[in-house]
C-alpha cells in the first residue's frame, strides 16, 4: 500500500471519511436491524406505492361508475331487496377499495420513514399498518362475498317480474 502515489490534492491531515453505505444500520436506540432487512423493505416499497396508485385510480373510476349507475338506475329502480343488496355491494367495494388504497399509501410512507431512520420502532410501526391493511382487506373481501351470496339467494327466491 505504501508505493501507491497520493493524489495531488489529497490532504494527509484530514480526518478519515467514514464510508456510509446506504444499507449500514444506523439504529443506536434499539435492537439491531440487519442490512438485509433494510434491503428487503426497500425493495418492497415501490410495489406498495404502485399498488396504492392503481387502487386510487380504480376507486376513482369505480366511484364515477357507481354514481352514474345510481343516477341512471334511479329511473328504473324498484327498491326491492335485490336492488338494495346490489347497491350495498357497490358501496362496499367502493369503500373497501378506498380504504385499502389509503392503507397501502400509509404503509409505503411508513416503510420510507423506516428506511430513513432504520430503527426497530419504525419497522414495528410499518408492520402495524400492514396488519391493519390485512384485516381491512380481509373483512372487506368477506363482506363483499357475503353480500354476493345473499344477492344470489335472494334473486333465486324472487319470482321473475313480468311487465
Amino acid at each position: 500500500m505504501d508505493d501507491l502515489p497520493a493524489p495531488a490534492d489529497a490532504n494527509p491531515y484530514a480526518a478519515p471519511e467514514v464510508e456510509e453505505t446506504i444499507l449500514a444500520p444506523v439504529a443506536d436506540d434499539g435492537p439491531l436491524i440487519t442490512p438485509q432487512t433494510v434491503l428487503l423493505m426497500r425493495q418492497t416499497a415501490p410495489w406498495v406505492f404502485f399498488l396504492s396508485v392503481v387502487g386510487f385510480l380504480f376507486t376513482g373510476l369505480f366511484g364515477v361508475g357507481m354514481l352514474m349507475n345510481f343516477l341512471l338506475g334511479a329511473l328504473v329502480f324498484r327498491f326491492n331487496l335485490g336492488d338494495m343488496i346490489g347497491m350495498a355491494i357497490t358501496v362496499t367495494v367502493f369503500l373497501a377499495a378506498g380504504a385499502v388504497s389509503t392503507l397501502l399509501l400509509r404503509y409505503g410512507l411508513r416503510v420510507l420513514r423506516f428506511l430513513s431512520r432504520r430503527t426497530a420502532a419504525e419497522l414495528c410501526a410499518a408492520l402495524q399498518v400492514q396488519r391493519t391493511l390485512s384485516w381491512v382487506a380481509a373483512l372487506g373481501y368477506l363482506l363483499v362475498l357475503g353480500l354476493l351470496t345473499t344477492l344470489i339467494v335472494v334473486q333465486a327466491r324472487t319470482p321473475p317480474i313480468i311487465d
Binding site: P31, M41, T44, L51, L123, C124, L145
Partner: protein, 159 residues
C-alpha cells in the same frame, strides 16, 4: 494418553457463529406479525376459493359456448371462446398466485414466531416482498391484457 496425537489436524471450531442474522430479532416486531398472520390466511383462502370459482365459471362457459359453436352458433366462430379464455384465465392466475404467496408469507411468519431471530425475520420479509412484487406485476399484466382485449373487442370492429 497413548491415543493423543500432537500432530493431528486441529478440529474446526463448532462454537456459535457470530452472525447478526442469528441474533434475536427486535421483540417489538413480534406482535404486529403475529396479528397479521390469521388475516393473511383468511385472505389467502378466500383468494384461492375465488380463483377456483373463476376457473369453474370459465370451464362451464367454455363448455356451453363450445356446445353452441359446435352446433353452428355464432356462425361457427370460435372468437367468443377465445374472449372468455382471455378474460377469465388472467383473472384466475391473478387471484391464485398472490394467494399462494400470501399463504407462504403467513407460514414464514409462523416460523418466525417459533424462532424469533433475524434470519427468520428476513425470510418472512422476503416472502412479503415477493408477494407485493408479484401482486404489482400481475396487476400490470392484467391491465395490459384487458386494455388490449378492450381494443380488440370495441375498437377493431369499428375500423
Amino acid at each position: 494418553m497413548q491415543d493423543f496425537n500432537p500432530y493431528a489436524e486441529q478440529a474446526a471450531s463448532t462454537g456459535p457463529v457470530e452472525d447478526s442474522s442469528r441474533r434475536a430479532a427486535p421483540s417489538v416486531l413480534i406482535p404486529p406479525l403475529r396479528q397479521s398472520r390469521p388475516w393473511c390466511y383468511v385472505l389467502s383462502i378466500t383468494g384461492l376459493l375465488s380463483a377456483a370459482f373463476v376457473l369453474l365459471g370459465m370451464i362451464s362457459m367454455l363448455l356451453v359456448l363450445g356446445w353452441f359453436v359446435g352446433r353452428g352458433g355464432f356462425r361457427a366462430n370460435v372468437a367468443p371462446l377465445l374472449i372468455v379464455l382471455l378474460v377469465y384465465s388472467p383473472l384466475c392466475i391473478a387471484l391464485a398466485i398472490p394467494s399462494l404467496l400470501l399463504w407462504r408469507f403467513a407460514r414464514r411468519i409462523a416460523r418466525f414466531l417459533r424462532r424469533p431471530d433475524n434470519q427468520q425475520l428476513e425470510t418472512a420479509l422476503k416472502a412479503q416482498r415477493t408477494f407485493w412484487r408479484w401482486s404489482g406485476l400481475l396487476v400490470l399484466a392484467l391491465i395490459g391484457i384487458y386494455l388490449v382485449l378492450a381494443m380488440l373487442v370495441f375498437v377493431a370492429p369499428m375500423q
